[in-house]
């Protein structure tokens, strides 16, 4: 606190997010607000809610995998399946929507939407986004998607059931499966709206970061969070339109029989769907051209935020700032030329497979650089084991697992065996849940004070971390060895295969862990809401961090800054020589010894 140059005013209680104006009404302040902080929180609440839904869907999935065709506790009654059991098509629908919700309504919007919105202006010293109205729209465009995905469950034939990858012809020929009736069409519409929302967001973020940095905030003084958000925005801007375009094409295939993705002479269900003349693989190429960069869209921001949190609680400068920046850029760049690694078995030319294999191997490099630099950051630090720090550390620990399993799949011959097995499922849950989701929790615990002016309960936070950490590994690590047996994904019941019949007990164990994992989130939910109102009041800078956001009131009023921020150094000046406290904020006035040390360190 002592080092804050800004006038230290007593923290305002959280209701003053966006200080009410004479003109502003409740609606314009909280609902149709153009304040990036309010919009960020709107994203946060919506996505957390969907996170819960996605989690429950996951439980239903797990239930069927562990005890096929047994009565489902809650959902059974909810969607009156025959006698409370789930039908195979219902199972297909479950994992499709589980993935859809988790990816398009949770991870992407919580990273870019919630944290991108809340943090970018605060961390670069801007009073808001470049285009607040656009920003508001990017949130409200999520609602048609929320509704489309949500409603699709209650339509004839249920929600989409073609897998989140919705490969044609299964997804385009309505006759091919019950779930691909209205559900699939709504799925495509929902996807389009998510796309529009992200696109509006990303161009806005880029403009803001390029044009609205505080004096002295050069590109190479930006916190990793901002770098990550910036490059993520670029990824979205260039990858998303492709998905939107191909989404429209699939929609056309379904509604007008344009047949882009179905060859001639298909006979599905003894019916001839359409004229055809198209190519099923075309969809896969276009889809993965977006969706592989998308997986990095789903982790880079988490990487950025984790970098900031690690340095803060290790009280140590980020190890290798520039390499960290370049590696993010490297991941993003290479991310555009590896999409084919999802198609090794698809019938794509095997020679092409080799080139994609090489580029995929190479993309492990920047990730390697990041991993080692995180370790370097912790090394020689002075580690404070706060809840936020624990989640951040677990991100590193878990990402290593998820990343390394990627190497198996990148090796084309090995992928022949493990493709579409639980080895893949293990891989992406380690990067997406054990990685990104844990990173998100780290960020929530870290910036909660800035959001609501109060800190979350540390003890219960740690309990939440401990349980989640144990259960997630119990659930997902086991998937690796299931994959080694060849246990196929997307199967409602695999035990009638001689090869897999003995795996039921193991799956039951995983399901119990999954139940525990979801249950532990109650602790989080309670802690979250309780702390919002009764948590200990936080000052401007509860963690003694360096970023600009910590020089503003918690929560910041409308316009964020109650003084003109001027930046004198990078965001990672922890424990520099020549200062009595153990950190120098970016806005602290020049300090000869420290700044000299910093200069020759670079």
């Amino acid at each position: 606190m002592s080092t804050v140059t800004a006038p230290t005013t007593t923290p305002l209680d959280h209701v003053t997010v966006a200080k009410p104006h004479p003109v502003s009404t409740f609606l314009s302040t909280y609902v149709f607000s153009k304040d990036h902080k309010v919009i960020g929180l709107q994203f946060l609440f919506s996505t957390l809610l969907w996170f819960l839904i996605g989690g429950l869907l996951a439980l239903a999935v797990r239930w069927q995998v562990a005890w096929p065709w047994s009565d489902v506790p809650v959902l059974g009654k909810l969607f009156a399946q025959e006698g409370g059991q789930m039908s195979p098509e219902f199972y297909t629908m479950l994992f499709t929507m589980h993935a859809t919700v988790m990816i398009f309504l949770v991870i992407i919007p919580i990273l870019a939407g919630a944290f991108g919105n809340f943090l970018i202006p605060l961390m670069i010293g801007a009073d808001d986004m470049a285009f607040p109205t656009l920003n508001m729209l990017s949130y409200w465009f999520m609602w048609p998607a929320f509704i489309a995905f949500g409603a699709s469950f209650f339509f004839e034939g249920g929600a989409a059931a073609g897998g989140w990858t919705s490969y044609p012809p299964l997804s385009t020929s309505v006759v091919s499966s019950p779930g691909s009736g209205w559900g699939q069409t709504l799925w495509l519409l929902g996807l389009t709206f998510v796309g529009v929302s992200s696109m509006l967001g990303s161009v806005n973020y880029m403009t803001t970061i390029i044009l609205m940095r505080a004096p002295g905030m050069t590109m190479f003084r930006l916190p990793m969070t901002i770098w990550a958000m910036f490059i993520t925005a670029i990824l979205q801007a260039f990858a998303l339109p492709v998905l939107t375009a191909t989404g429209f094409m699939q929609l056309a295939d379904r509604l007008f029989a344009t047949g882009f993705f179905s060859p001639e002479g298909l006979i599905v269900n003894n019916a001839v769907p359409g004229p055809g003349g198209g190519q099923p693989l075309l969809w896969q190429h276009l889809f993965w051209f977006y969706s592989h960069p998308a997986v990095y869209i789903m982790i880079l921001p988490a990487m950025g935020m984790v970098s900031d949190i690690l340095t803060c609680f290790a009280r140590k400068p980020l190890f290798g700032y520039r390499p960290m920046v370049y590696s993010i850029a490297g991941i993003a760049g290479l991310g555009f030329i590896v999409w084919g690694h999802h198609m090794f078995m698809s019938g794509m030319n095997p020679a092409l497979g080799i080139t994609f294999m090489v580029s995929t191997m190479m993309i492990a490099l920047p990730s390697a650089v990041k991993t080692f630099n995180w370790l370097g950051t912790v090394w020689g630090g002075k580690i404070e084991f706060t809840t936020s720090m624990l989640f951040a550390l677990s991100f590193v620990s878990m990402f290593i697992i998820g990343g390394l399993s990627g190497i198996f799949m990148a090796a084309t011959p090995v992928d022949i065996f493990i493709h579409d097995t639980y080895f893949i499922v293990a891989h992406f849950h380690y990067v997406l849940f054990a990685g990104t989701a844990m990173g998100v929790w780290a960020a929530i615990y870290f910036w909660f004070p800035k959001m609501f002016g109060r800190t979350m309960n540390e003890f219960w936070g740690k309990v939440h971390f401990f349980l989640t950490f144990i259960f997630l590994n119990g659930t997902f690590f086991t998937m690796h060895i299931l994959g080694a047996v060849g246990f196929p994904r997307r199967l409602a019941d695999a035990y009638h295969y001689e090869t897999f019949h003995h795996l039921q007990p193991m799956n039951a164990f995983m399901t119990w862990c999954a139940i525990g994992m979801v249950a532990s989130q109650v602790i989080f939910a309670v802690n979250f809401f309780w702390s919002m109102f009764y948590g200990p009041v936080a000052g401007r800078n509860p963690w003694n961090a360096n970023g600009l956001e910590w020089t503003t009131p918690s929560p910041p009023g409308h316009g964020n800054f109650d003084y003109q921020p001027v930046v004198y150094r990078g965001p990672y000046e922890y424990s520099p020589p020549g200062v009595e406290t153990d950190h120098l904020m970016q806005t602290d006035p020049p300090n000869p010894t420290a700044d000299a040390a910093a200069r020759q360190a670079h």
Binding site: K19, H21, V23, S24, S28, K34, G125, A126, D127, D128, A130, F131, P132, T133, M199, V203, N204, M206, T207, I210, L211, R213, A214, P215, M217, A237, F238, L240, P241, V242, A245, T246, F248, M249, A252, L255, F256, A257, T258, G259, F260, V272, P273, G274, P275, G276, G277, G278, Q279, L282, L286, F289, G557, H558, G559, N560, F561, D562, Y563, Q564
Partner: protein, 343 residues
Amino acid sequence: MSAPAISAPHDHGHGDGHHGHIHLQYQPGLPLSRGKLIMWLFLSTEIMFFAALLGSYIVLRFGAAVWPKPHHVHLSEPLGAFNTFVLICSSVTVVLALEAAKANKTSLAKIWMLATLLLGALFLGVKAYEYQAKFAHGIFPQAPHGLIYERPDLYYGSAVRDRLDNLRKVPVSQVPAALRLPDDTKAKPGDTVDVLKRLDEAPEGSLNAEQQRARTAFQLVQKMVMNLDQQAYDMAVIADQVAPLPSEGAAGAAGHGGGHGINDAFPWLRLPMVIPGGNMWASTYFLLTGFHAVHVAVGLIVFTVLLGYTLGPKNAGMIENAGLYWHFVDLVWIFLFPVLYLF
């Protein structure tokens, strides 16, 4: 999107203004206005969008066994060329509008802006006309199954027969004047008549040339279709009667090439026809031109809005961004035209 663009650095469409807090200084990384930068970024996403569409087109076209020649599908190069010219002119006029606005010649700027608007509208008009021609000939994807068949096989034959059966009853109103028989005058608009039967049974000489031709054509097709089961007839002959694929020679004489078949004489018949590769052609054609047309339409809306402002230097930024977008739309067409019409 370009609306808030021009606003001065600070009051960026922030509805309720900023009387809350102090005015912050920034260190911009590029010498660009926010509006211009975001417009460029937006256009780069648009490029990727059309790149995906064009890419798919190329993959699908070169993956296809056959691809119809423009005149097989009633595509007219001259019309396309004309439209290209129109769009290029509009790109010029929008620049002139900007120049005029910068020079504070507001009324002149308005005129050029109006010209741009009209040229854009003209482009859409021509497009609409072209679409109309396709629709009239039943050349468009249609679920569950369109009128276009890849080859004259038995599926095709039975499709023709089904269609003929449906034609047993046609509302009088649909029967073109040329085919009206004297006694139709008694029939009320709502009534339906069996055109085919009447033509069959009409006594010799009572028919004019047009009707004669129609009659012979029908009788041929009907005979063939009746004998489908014995496969006595080659479907290709039927196909040729319905919509003959013009020889290279007959290429787009009147733009609307395509030899004269029953479908061309009596479009309202909508008999299934054979165009190898026609389905995928139609799909891609409407996909690409459709999305481009939507972008043109958006541009027109923007221009209409702009006409509401005084087009002086103050609003030059706004015009410039609209212009940027318009040039992009123009550029896309410059790619689409050769790809769709010429190669």
